[in-house]
């Protein structure tokens, strides 16, 4: 019996099934811990930095919301996390992280906005692989291109000036500039929806 094909398939299938189950179990029990660790290491420092002027009193991870922002080529949902800075339960600022397609790969941008003024507080690049010396300037929060978004209206025309918008692109890095502005615009759109859903405070 042991050299029959069906027996081999059965045994291998059982081994795979048992270990698949075990992995699912372990994954379910470690997922939250791992997610929190990654959040604390990568997102939290930037988030605290941009929210600092509002002196928020809430736990950002606990008040995190996840919103559907679209679908990828395979038809799976793409979700974006929305973080809120609250003081005495009043939402003062919001931030989200979206991915844009830059010149050298994915650009991950955090956009923080003021809920009352509907203005951009700051934008930060969390991850990028743009051309060194040109596009990679977006990683520097002091770079004029990045700084110009601070204080802009969320409804503003966030396109490059060459396309009739209000954003001055970086010379030599048009693709990066366009992608960055596009991502900021998408983030503003998402956050505006959030604010209007809650009813402007």
């Amino acid at each position: 019996m042991r050299d029959k094909l069906w027996y081999m398939v059965l045994v291998l299938g059982c081994v795979a099934a048992v270990f698949g189950g075990a992995l699912a179990f372990v994954n379910a029990h470690t997922r939250d811990v791992i997610e929190e660790r990654t959040f604390r290491e990568t997102v939290l420092p930037t988030l605290e930095n941009v929210f600092a002027p509002y002196r928020p009193t809430n736990d950002f991870l606990k008040d995190k919301k996840s919103e559907r922002v679209g679908e990828d080529a395979m038809g799976r949902q793409i979700r974006a996390d929305i973080y809120v800075a609250q003081k005495n339960k009043m939402p003062l600022a919001m931030a989200t992280i979206l991915d844009g397609r830059g010149y050298g790969g994915i650009i991950r941008v955090m956009v923080a906005v003021d809920v009352n003024k509907k203005e951009i507080i700051a934008t930060r690049t969390l991850q990028q692989t743009e051309t060194r010396g040109l596009g990679d300037q977006i990683a520097n929060p002091e770079e004029p291109f990045v700084k110009q978004f601070n204080g802009m209206r969320m409804e503003a025309n966030l396109k490059l000036t060459s396309e009739g918008g209000q954003v001055d692109g970086m010379s030599g890095a048009t693709v990066t500039s366009t992608a960055y502005a596009k991502t900021v615009k998408a983030a503003c759109h998402l956050l505006l929806n959030q604010i209007s859903q809650k009813g402007a405070p």
Binding site: D3, M8, V11, L12, F19, A22, L23, V26, R37
Partner: protein, 209 residues
Amino acid sequence: MKPLWQEFTKGFNAQLPPFRLVLGLCPALAVTTTVEGGLGMGIATLLVLLMSNLVISLLRNIIPNSVRIAANISVIAGFVVIVELMMKAYTPTLFNILGVFISLIVVNCIVLGRAEAFAKKNGPVRSMVDALGIGSGFTVSLVILGLVREVLGRGSITLFSEANVKFQLLPQTDGYVFRLAVEPAGAFIFLGVILFVINLRSKKEKVAQ
């Protein structure tokens, strides 16, 4: 049949993995820049070896010979991912140090070798003792290699950076590193020196007999 305790002690004598069997060299060279790396890698390998030896030994009469490699790899890979997820969740600093080498335990020849050479022919208790012996031997070897390289290379002994358990032996000057001990090439040299010492000793023993 050998007494049970000899199955354990052989992991330190005749079958000491990196020095006697010269197996598992890839992790032995890659992660031993610090004591912590060696210790973490050794313990992770020991855990995987222990669990996979147990399961493979229990299943040895069920799994047909022609699919045993596939079945063994599935078992080993399963345990490796479990260990990997646990480390990622509870010891992230160590996980960052070891990086891809945790996943590479799947193809570690020690683990697969023990499954093939021992667990599929012996009972569960004996297989676990064998795994404990070989695994501890491997851990001790990695710690020794890590100790030599870290003391010479950085003048410190790091045991667990997550809780900041670290001893600085030499006063820390700006960026002092003895490059040879830290770089991969140095790993080969130090491994070779230790191999030389051990072979010299065993040769003397043989002559004495």
